[in-house]
Every structure is written in structure tokens, then in C-alpha cells.
Symmetry: C2
Subunit: 350 residues, 2 copies
């Protein structure tokens, strides 16, 4: 009789099996599972009483919970964690799933933004959960070309094109002192010297390396500092693409208004969302319940998968649903979808 190590004790094969069956059933039917239900499965040869004993043990070990004294069991957070880590069948990709991800390929998705948006929409459609794509941080991209286009004597638009074809722009106030010829020189210097530098590094690079050059070519250098700060000081902005924000409403565990409200509010106020779906690890990661370290997410699981460009992790595609998620289906789906995104992205840059 083989056994697995987990925490303090061991689990017998039978316990493992019962735990798996119970969680599968609960995920499917969203109702506490009793001993009779489990014993009815044709591949189970034990009586309800035996199952009950095992269930009591599994509850003592912290894998299961009861909703009230005489109810069936539901998985605890620890139970889900164990299920995801040790009980998930090998991640075979269902054919039906790959069919759907191919949608992504056939749709005419010309630009990266559209790809992210499409991906989020498709993912939430398939799963009926809420999906979030964290787009690449444009400021990590490298400068290809910049330009300043005057609007009036005082105002101008600064435009930055990155190597990925992304365009950042901002309105700036021109210093009174500056002359058109100086502006032109400035832009030329920046383009010559700073091509290939990440947008976010532009400002510090200038401070370090280019002050001498500027002094030589540009009049009124002291005013220039303020201007350059205005031009190159970025506020971090990563773009989030959502799909199925209201899908939470169809999850039976959130039937109650007071329970969905914090969730939906959380989805709307995106400043915390970024942290939630950021992932430093490659591949698919699963965070269950309180592992997400946010009150509103305590009954949710977040699954992240990262996509890459030229082998570098640049963003994530995530799924948010109740802790009782269809992990089996969803993990493999996210895996293949993130790979598909990676492929498509690298096609763009050909």
C-alpha cells in the first residue's frame, strides 16, 4: 500500500482516491458531497459507513470541511491546494479546447492590443469565468523613434515609437525660451543617441551620458532639465484587458448580492488587479483563496499563465473564478492559450 507525504501524516491510496472523487464531484455539482454519493460510484466497493470513516479522517487532516454538523463535506482551501498539486490528472489537452484557441489564429488580429482583448474575451467565453490579460509594459520596450510636433507656440505633442510598433504620446508644455531650431536639434540628438534604450530608462540615461552633448549644442541648458523631466518622466501604466467581468454573477456560490459586490468592485478598481495577476514565474501558476492576499478574493482562485516575446516574459493571461474552479479543464486551456499568444506575438515581429 503506497502513500504520499503531506504535512504531518500520510494518506492511503483509498483516501487519495476518495478525496479526488469528492472534489471532482463538488466542483461539478457545487453541493456538499455525502458518503452515499461517493459509495454509489461503480468503481467504489466500500459501503457508506466505511467512506464516512475516511471522510472524518480527511476532515481531521484539514482537507475537508462541513457546512453544518450533519452536512456532507466540501473541500477546504488546503484540500484544493492538495488537489491541484497532487491529484490533477496529467494535463492532457482536450481536443475541444484546442479547437477554440485556434479561433485566435483565424481571426484577423493585426495589432497586439487586439490580440490581448480577443484572448481575454475568448477565454472568458469558453470558461464562463472572468479573465484578465496583463499587457506588456510599453515602457519596457525600446525606443525606435521619437518626435515632437508643435501644436501652438506653447504646446506640443511628444511621440515615442517603440521597437514593437507601440506608440506612446503625451502633451507637453514648451519652455518659453526654446527656439524651433533648438527643439529640432534636441530631437535629433535624442534619436541618434537613445535608439534602442528602454523608454523607462531614457531619463536616467540622459542624466548620465548626454548632459555634455546638450551643453555643446543646445542653448539655455538650465531650463532644459525641467523640460526633459516633463518629457521623459513616465507614470507606470500597464494595460489590463478584461473578459467576462459579469460572469461571476452566474457562479452559484456568488448568488448572494453581498458576496458578489466586493468582487465586482474589485474588478472595477484595477489598481490592485495588476498585482494580483502579475506573475514572475513562467508557466501556469494557481493561487487559491486567501493565497491571493486580498479580502475580496478569499473565495476565489486566480490562475496565471505568462506569455513571452523573444523568450522574455512580458505579460500574463489570467482567469479568476470561485475556488471551486474546473482546474483540470482550465489549467490546460490557459497553458495552450498563453502559448498561442506567444506564437502570435512573435509572428507580429517578423
Amino acid at each position: 500500500m503506497s502513500a504520499n507525504k503531506w504535512g504531518d501524516g500520510m494518506l492511503t491510496e483509498r483516501q487519495l482516491y476518495i478525496l479526488r472523487v469528492l472534489i471532482d464531484d463538488y466542483i461539478k455539482h457545487v453541493e456538499p458531497v455525502g458518503s452515499r454519493t461517493i459509495s454509489k460510484r461503480e468503481d467504489i466497493t466500500y459501503s457508506p459507513a466505511t467512506i464516512r470513516n475516511e471522510l472524518a479522517d480527511l476532515e481531521d487532516l484539514g482537507f475537508l470541511e462541513k457546512t453544518h454538523t450533519s452536512s456532507g463535506r466540501i473541500p477546504s482551501e488546503k484540500g484544493y491546494r492538495f488537489y491541484v498539486d497532487h491529484l490533477l490528472p496529467s494535463l492532457s489537452v482536450q481536443p475541444s479546447v484546442t479547437d477554440r484557441t485556434e479561433l485566435l489564429s483565424t481571426e484577423k488580429v493585426q495589432e497586439a492590443e487586439a490580440l490581448f482583448d480577443q484572448s481575454a474575451k475568448i477565454l472568458s467565453d469558453i470558461t464562463n469565468y472572468t479573465s484578465v490579460v496583463l499587457g506588456p509594459n510599453a515602457l519596457d520596450m525600446k525606443l525606435r523613434h521619437m518626435q515632437i510636433i508643435p501644436l501652438s507656440s506653447q504646446m506640443a505633442v511628444a511621440i515615442f515609437v517603440t521597437n514593437t510598433g507601440h506608440v506612446e504620446n503625451r502633451q507637453i508644455v514648451l519652455p518659453n525660451s526654446i527656439e524651433p531650431s533648438d527643439l529640432e536639434k534636441l530631437v535629433n540628438i535624442l534619436n541618434e543617441r537613445l535608439a534602442g534604450v528602454r523608454l523607462v530608462d531614457l531619463n536616467s540615461r540622459i542624466q548620465k551620458e548626454l548632459s555634455s552633448v546638450f551643453k555643446k549644442h543646445v542653448r539655455d541648458y538650465q531650463n532644459m532639465g525641467v523640460f526633459l523631466d516633463q518629457l521623459l518622466l513616465w507614470s507606470k501604466k500597464e494595460k489590463l484587458f478584461y473578459g467576462g467581468k459579469t460572469n461571476m454573477l452566474s457562479q452559484p456560490e456568488f448568488r448572494d448580492l453581498d458576496k458578489v459586490r466586493p468582487l465586482l468592485d474589485f474588478l472595477e478598481t484595477s489598481d490592485l488587479m495588476e498585482k494580483l495577476v502579475s506573475s514572475t514565474e513562467k508557466g501556469v501558476t494557481v493561487k487559491i483563496g486567501t493565497e491571493n492576499e486580498h479580502e475580496a478574493m478569499k473565495n476565489c482562485s486566480v490562475i496565471n499563465a505568462s506569455y513571452t516575446m523573444h523568450g522574455k516574459h512580458i505579460g500574463t493571461i489570467s482567469l479568476i473564478g470561485p475556488t471551486r474552479m474546473e482546474y483540470k479543464k482550465v489549467i490546460s486551456l490557459l497553458d495552450s492559450l498563453s502559448k498561442e499568444m506567444t506564437n502570435r506575438l512573435n509572428d507580429f515581429s517578423k
Copy 2:
């Protein structure tokens, strides 16, 4: 005893007064209002029985409804319409309201987009309803400058700067045949000839006026047509800014999940939203219930106010809430907020 014309009949002063009091009360307490409640007001000198007679008449005239045979009255859609058109006290601006709209001025709002976003957020915060700002259609702005920046031998980014400082950009595929010098010529011609033309009109203008010029200066003119279409064919995109999307959940009439769901879904799928909050009229307009001509909005009112630039209507700021809205407060608020937005916008372009 004076009277007002409305539909087929007349309403006595007393009826007008009772109707107003009832709607005020219902808006405040969200519960059917009975004759006793009305008669208790100190400025009412009649007994409940008299009120009942009047209420019965007002119901016959279609201004009021009952939820069941022995309930108090609630306003009908027609009732609200009459209330908004004839019973609203003169739109005096509450001091508390102006205080809040000044927030807009003090916040450092540098760009138009930020202004719209801020406005939507502030509006929904004050009112606890859902707000939507329909941004100006960038394609109606005039071309200030355009540029094509190559990314690779095949791909390039086209950038269009408008007179308002807005930047539109798109990735394009370069025709095989085109030479860098030709591309430069093309851009020069476009900038010389098309400055001041609305983006949306660029393509047709070229077809009409510039084909001869191109033939003279640019080789391989036949391929150029496809390329220009790709470059200048816009898909309409107007930007929507939301505030308080989940505020609907705190409205007592939408306590029920099945009732909010369609609403929230509607708010998410924005393609119909644009039509809902578009308004050709200047000033503040109110659409009540089914006047909005969308199933999901049948129990909602939409209040639109347009903001302008150089006297031209360019967008709207709107509020979506239950038909039982605090019209009094909200209409004057929207009026002043839209004016404030107009001021701020015109400050930008100085």
C-alpha cells in the same frame, strides 16, 4: 383655480401638488406611498380619504400605479415624465454641488482623456449612480501632422496628430514595391495638402483631389490605392469613460440578481452604450424607462448633458440610474459639470 394641460385632461393645483409630493417621497424612500403618509405632511389640510380620491384619479390618468390591489401608489413612467417636465422646482444649483465640481478644477488634469475619466469618477461618486462620458470622436478632429515610421522592411507605424493634440496610430503593411523615397514623398504630399482636413475625410479627399498629384510624383500608382485604403480607412471608435459601474448594485430596486444582471451586462458590452448616451440636443436631456428603447434599460433613466469645444457639441456626460432618480439634484449637477468640462476643455486649447 389654475390648471395645466396634459394629455386629454386637466390637473387641479391640488392634484399637481399631491403628485409632486408623492413622487418626491417615493424617490426618497423607494416604497409605495399611501394616502396617510401624504396627509401627514403639515402643509396638507385634507384627510386621507380625500387624498385617496385624488390618488385614484391620478391613477386613472396614468400618472400613478399600484404594485398590488391594496398597496400605496408608485409613479408610472408617464408620472416621472410629467414630474421632470412640469413639477421640478427651478434648477437652482445647490451650493454643496458646486463645491464638488470645483474638484475638477483643482485636480491636475493635463490631458483631455484624464478630464473625461475624472469627470465620470467624480460624478458617480457624488450621485452613487453610474456615469458615462462619451469622448469626442478623434476622427472628427483635423489633421495637423502625419508621419510614417518604418519598423521593418514590411511593417511601419502610421501616426496622425490632430489639431487638438490627439494622436491616432496604426500599424500598416508596406507594399513590396514601395521605395523609401516614394514613401517620403507620399507623406510630404499628404502633409502639405491635407492639413486641416478631418481624419474621417482624408480618404475621400484623396480620391477626389489628389490622384493626379500622385500620378505625377509617385511610381507604381496602382498598388498605391490598396495601401492608402489601409492607411486611411478608419473604423469608428469613440471612447467611453465609466464611473461607478457597480453602483447599480446598491439601488434597492435592483437588489435582485436577475434584475441587475442584464444591466451590468449592458454596461460591459459597450457597443450599444454609445447610442444610448449620444445626444444631438444641447443642454440636459432626460430619457425615462422605455424611452431609452433598450430592454435592459426599461427600469432606468438616462440623463445626458453635452459639452462643447469652441461652441461645437463634441461629446456627452451621462448618468444612468433607476427611473426613480433624484432628478432635482442630478439634473442641475450634470448641467454644471458639463459646463465645467466645457470650460476646462477650452482652457486646454489656449
